[in-house]
């Protein structure tokens, strides 16, 4: 019996070793101060989750609110990437990645909800939370596209709403400036320990405690040469490779649909301008015909008709936009699903093996 058990143990250990050998041991080792002190803790890794499209569940409101659900879904994937590019350009952060789902163990998690996007105005509610549970901010940002932005004639070559993304980047930096080195170092450690706690709760479950308000604090730290921690970091490295592959897919999507999206946004902006001008025209032509005359009746009918035809045209073009970018979105989602599926499968396997390994090593 004990021989069988011993053989099983050996097989498990061998499986783990083979698995961990497959995972590249890379720069991640320098990420956490538990295994290396060379890292600049202010340069936190930032994970930007795909935004909430902000589509009301009540379908009857979509027309009134000028919400095109399919386009909002696309924007929810597209806009985080613009923010990612803005943050990356500042060189003020570590790795900045777009991720399909929020990861609570991220050093800094940025999530957003699209409140309004009509080509002329973009309103986002953005929330930034670090791994310790500290909310950096949770507020709305609004940007208006001006002519110079829309046409690029300001020579900046920056996309529309760049000011909005710039404000978000500034807010993140301002919030970070409120934190001292110790707090920033804690964020990095807590992120690693939360991640470790998710993968191997038996081994890392008691390193952190959580207060009633959801904040995490460090109870104690594992030894710097803890073999379990080393494995966790190797696994995290493998996850980062996948996350970067997913991020590359978002980058590809962005480059593929950016020009079409800009056209759509420009069209929506022109529609708003047209509607404003048309409202003025209605006022101008209101009383020119005798009340009750044929001309007067036709004028009343035509004013309504023009508004409705404009709205219909917008709906048709929204469908045309979805038709055009739909296959690209689908291809990207399929690839991301494959990558995420692989991670999920591996995660379950890593979880099981690490728990067994901890049991074997700790003799519990």
């Amino acid at each position: 019996m004990s021989r069988i058990f011993s053989r099983a143990r050996t097989r498990i250990v061998l499986q783990v070793l083979v698995l961990l050998m497959c995972i590249p041991y890379q720069a991640v080792a320098a990420d956490g101060i538990l295994v290396g002190d060379g890292r600049n803790h202010a340069a936190l890794n930032v994970s930007i989750a795909v935004f909430d499209p902000g589509v009301p569940a009540d379908m009857s409101l979509h027309r009134d609110l000028q919400v095109f659900p399919q386009i909002r879904e696309i924007e929810a994937m597209f806009l985080p990437f613009v923010l990612r590019e803005t943050l990356a350009r500042t060189n003020a952060w570590g790795a900045v990645r777009v991720i399909p789902q929020p990861n609570v163990a991220a050093e800094l998690l940025v999530s957003g909800v699209i409140l309004k996007s009509d080509g002329g105005t973009l309103e986002l509610n953005v929330r930034a939370v670090d791994a310790s549970g500290r909310v950096w901010f949770d507020r709305a940002f609004a940007g208006v596209v001006t002519d110079s932005y829309a046409t690029g004639s300001n020579g900046s070559a920056l996309p529309g709403y760049q000011q909005l993304y710039g404000e978000i980047a500034e807010s993140l930096e301002s919030a970070r400036a409120q934190l001292d080195d110790k707090a920033l170092a804690d964020i990095v450690e807590i992120s690693l320990l939360r991640h470790a706690g998710q993968l191997a709760p038996s081994a890392f479950g008691d390193y952190l405690s959580q207060s009633a308000d959801g904040m995490f604090s460090i109870n104690r730290l594992p030894a710097r040469d803890d073999p379990m921690l080393d494995r966790i970091e190797r696994i995290r490295g493998a996850e980062y490779v996948i996350t970067d592959a997913v991020d590359a897919k978002f980058q590809q999507l962005h480059s593929e649909i950016a020009s079409i999206y800009d056209l759509w946004r420009e069209y929506r902006r022109k529609v708003i301008e047209y509607q404003t001008e048309d409202a003025r025209r209605v006022q101008r032509t209101k009383s020119s015909a005798l009340r009750g005359s044929y001309e007067s009746l036709v004028n009343l009918y035509d004013n309504y008709k023009l508004d409705r035809i404009t709205a219909q045209e917008q709906n048709s073009l929204a469908v045309a936009f979805s038709n055009e970018v739909g296959p690209r979105i689908q291809a990207m989602e399929n690839r991301v699903d494959e990558l995420e599926g692989w991670v999920d499968t591996q995660y379950a396997e890593w979880y099981r093996l690490l728990e067994e390994l901890f049991e074997l090593e700790s003799g519990l």
Partner: protein, 227 residues
């Protein structure tokens, strides 16, 4: 939800104040699915249509009968007031003729919406969500529909007291459609009603599969197009 209720109540009030309230609270509520399926392509059957001038003559006679001491339409005894009323009625008739001019209607119907596409005009839209008709409004008017038994009734109330109502009825074999359009205004004592008849037809099928795209407009292929 509150806004929706206010809109509908407002519409019903406007309709009640006009000469002929056509959609009541009962009609805008729908239990279960749509009672009739109108979807398909419909072409005008001119042979059965009302003749505008004949309807207008009848309307004139009806108008004259409502006015004391007036017996002959457009006769020498008509005073200025009556003449104005007749002009108003003629304006309604011309508008009704204009609105009902399209010779083809394309109706698409889903679980929630009925859309009636007409050439050179906006598509009439009838939307039901959560069993309640959803009004469409813009700065110039408000449009709402309802079911009166198996008849679909669409009513448009415009600024200036103008109201346009369409009543759709389908034949038992679903091959014929009647649309009764009534135009009324606060400037005319009596409304003007025209009947148009349509017959269902099948559009020829194409060898091409086409989709509308945003930057390339219509794209067609002989094979299936991925969406």
């Amino acid at each position: 939800m509150l806004r929706k209720s206010i809109t509908i109540v407002l519409f019903l009030l406007i309709a009640a104040c006009s000469q002929q309230p056509v959609i009541n609270d009962e009609m805008i509520h729908l239990d279960g699915g749509m009672p009739v399926n109108f979807s398909g392509s419909w072409e005008r059957n001119y042979a059965r249509d009302d003749e505008v001038n004949a309807v207008l003559r009848d309307a004139y006679n009806k108008l004259i009968r409502t006015i004391p001491d007036q017996h002959h339409p457009s006769g020498p005894g008509i005073d200025a007031s009556t003449s104005n009323k007749m002009n108003s009625l003629r304006a309604l008739a011309r508008l009704a003729e204009l609105i009902t001019r399209p010779d083809v209607l394309t109706i698409s119907q889903s679980e929630h919406e009925i859309s009636v596409d007409r050439k050179d005009d906006f598509a009439m839209l009838c939307a039901f969500y959560d069993g309640v008709s959803k009004a469409i409004e813009n700065d110039n008017g408000i449009e709402i529909c309802g079911w009166d038994g198996k008849q679909l009734v669409s009513s448009l109330v415009l600024q200036g007291g103008l109201q346009v109502t369409h009543r759709f009825t389908i034949s038992a074999d679903s091959q014929h459609l009647r649309v009764v359009t009534t135009v009324s205004s606060t400037t005319s004592r009596i409304p003007f009603t025209l009947r148009r008849f349509y017959t269902k037809f099948r559009r020829p099928t194409s060898n091409f599969n086409c989709i509308e795209t945003f930057s390339m407009k219509r794209v067609c292929s002989t094979t299936e197009i991925k969406r």
